[in-house]
Amino acid sequence: MSDPVSTLRVEGLTVRAESLELVREVSFTIAPGERVGLIGESGSGKSLTALSLMGLLPEAVTASGTARLGDRDLVGVPENRVKDLRGRDVSMVFQEPMTALNPLMRVGAQVAEVMTLHGTPRHEARERAVAMLERVRLPEPGQVARAYPHQLSGGQRQRVMLAIALANGPGLLICDEPTTALDVTVQKQMLELIAEVAPALLFITHDLAVVASVCERVLVMYGGRVVESGPIREVFTRPRHRYTEGLLAASKLTPRGTRLPTVQGSVPSAGQFPDGCVFRNRCPHATPTCETAPALTGDGHAFACWHPAD
């Protein structure tokens, strides 16, 4: 069990693949019990940010900077030490529940495994696995524990993943698009469950409505940088960064017959972002000033933009 009052502090997190900077100087904190959303388009670096906190970056991709959960370092720690933190202090639920479980192993054993790996005796882990399955509200947990993954639905499997993630009482839960692959009807229950059980939550999604329903605070990422952050209500009702503004406009319901608003252009591929403000080649308000990178400034509601919206 980890310290219940452990705050996640990320400072200057940079992720590189050889010479390419994929995530640059990302800083944020998550207090115990706080639920923070991380939004942005594909390729904005949100999944890499999450994977670097788990020490699960792909080969040849490296993270620098600091990330501390309570008094434990998560970044820049050798694999043989960081693996003891995974599944115990930080846990993660992935996007695709259909393939995330081992098809040849009973569900109960897969939940118990994460506990025996971190020192729980085998028989105790077996019992607690069933209790965990009950905690994520799977009906008839004893039966589910004896089932194989293919006998469960996508929603049920994602609950099993959540049970695995929560089994050791981690200080931080990371969810990467956990409901994207699920039916709409199942999504809502899953989101409510995550919001209820998460010790502290980093929730990655591109679905703004989902962030609004689960999180209290939001980080908006673009081009590997956090371009705006703040309480959900403020950021969503009064976006300051032009990218956030465009993103929100694109997700609003529009009257019939009007043209759907979009963010013009498309996300450049890694390494192709402009110098200075990463958004300036797509921004309708860009000026020569934007060739210098704006800093993320502001207390509470922060943004990195030379020409913010009012």
């Binding site: 788990m54 699960l56 694999e79 043989n80 693996k83 003891d84 933190l85 995974r86 599944g87 115990r88 846990s91 993660m92 992935f94 695709e96 393939t99 995330a100 479980l101 081992n102 098809p103 040849l104 192993m105 495994e113 994460v114 790996l117 971190h118 194989y148 293919h150 993943m161 695995i164 993630a165």
Partner: protein, 312 residues
């Protein structure tokens, strides 16, 4: 599972019965009369007719088949027309030798392929991993008998550490028995091992890309631990299929390798039978080889079901 086993067993019995019909029909269609062969060119027609009656080959084919297959069910393969000795016990003795040869070859193949294939997959970016992959490619191109001759040349002729052929029964001298089998095992197993290495490598590579390995690492396993605990059993599913096919290939390969190393196995018996025109003996050996392949397939199917719960 029980129902599946019964169904599969029924299929095994049915296909063995069909195989018996085919083997019998094929041998019956071959020209040559056992009685004429036995008596030679100078025999009188009366003598031939008398011998036919004695052999029972004057009866209609259906009656002969029922007689033969009925005997098979009791383990009786009939009596050789040439040597007048019962065929069953000969096949029994030889089957044991061939089984030891084939299973030993398979063990060598597995011992080579599982570690090398896994290593080649895990280190597929390293020079050594790529080298294993390339060398296994070469191994595929070498037939077992050539490997056998090369091994004999190196270990028996040049180094003179192992016998070049011959077979000493286990009961007589276990040490010599083992020494005599090492080269035959190696020549069967190394070639099959090379083929199998490539299958193991690709199965492990596939598994390494699976999401559940990432889940295992997210639980706190290292990448080796995740592969060991969650990957290898998943990778074994496709490998078992190939293993079944290879066992059948090994059985056929054993026929040749027995010749190279002068081992009294089924292949040796089969070739002797052909040379001596002992039709009933050939028929019996072919039937046993066919049945063995069918049993191997049966075992592979059952192994599949034990490995993969999605099939149950």
């Amino acid at each position: 599972m029980t129902l599946y086993l019964l169904k599969r067993l029924a299929v095994l019995l049915a296909s063995t019965a069909v195989a018996a019909v085919v083997v019998f029909a094929f041998m019956a269609l071959l020209p040559g009369d056992p009685a004429e062969i036995a008596l030679g060119v100078n025999a009188t027609p009366e003598a031939v007719a008398a011998l036919r009656q004695q052999f029972g080959t004057d009866r209609p084919p259906v009656a002969q088949f029922l007689d033969w297959s009925g005997g098979l069910l009791q383990g009786d393969f009939g009596t050789s027309y040439v040597t007048s000795s019962p065929i069953g016990p000969q096949i029994g003795d030889r089957l044991g030798v061939t089984a030891v040869l084939v299973l030993g070859g398979m063990a060598v193949a597995l011992a080579v392929a599982v570690p090398l294939g896994t290593y080649a997959a895990v280190r597929h970016r390293d020079p050594l991993g790529a080298a294993i992959s390339a060398v296994s490619q070469v191994g595929i191109a070498i037939p077992a008998f050539l490997a056998g001759i090369l091994l004999v040349f190196v270990f028996a002729v040049q180094a003179q550490v192992l016998p070049s052929g011959g077979y000493v029964p286990f009961a007589e001298d276990p040490g010599e028995w083992l020494r005599g089998l090492l080269l035959p095992w190696a020549s069967l197993g190394l070639v099959q091992g090379a083929v199998l290495t490539r299958y193991v490598r690709s199965a492990v590579l596939d598994v390494m890309r699976e999401d559940y390995l990432r889940t295992a690492r997210a639980k706190g396993r290292g990448s080796t631990g995740a592969l060991w605990r969650h990957g290898l059993r998943n990778a074994s599913v496709p490998v078992v299929t190939v293993l079944g096919l290879q066992l059948a290939t090994l059985l056929i390969g054993a026929v040749v390798v027995e010749r190279v190393f002068v081992i009294p196995g089924l292949g040796d018996l089969l070739l002797n039978g052909v040379a001596g025109r002992d039709l009933l003996l050939v028929q019996g050996v072919v039937m046993v080889l066919v049945a063995a392949v069918l049993v191997i397939n049966f075992v592979v199917d059952v192994a599949y079901h034990l490995l993969d719960p999605r099939l149950r």
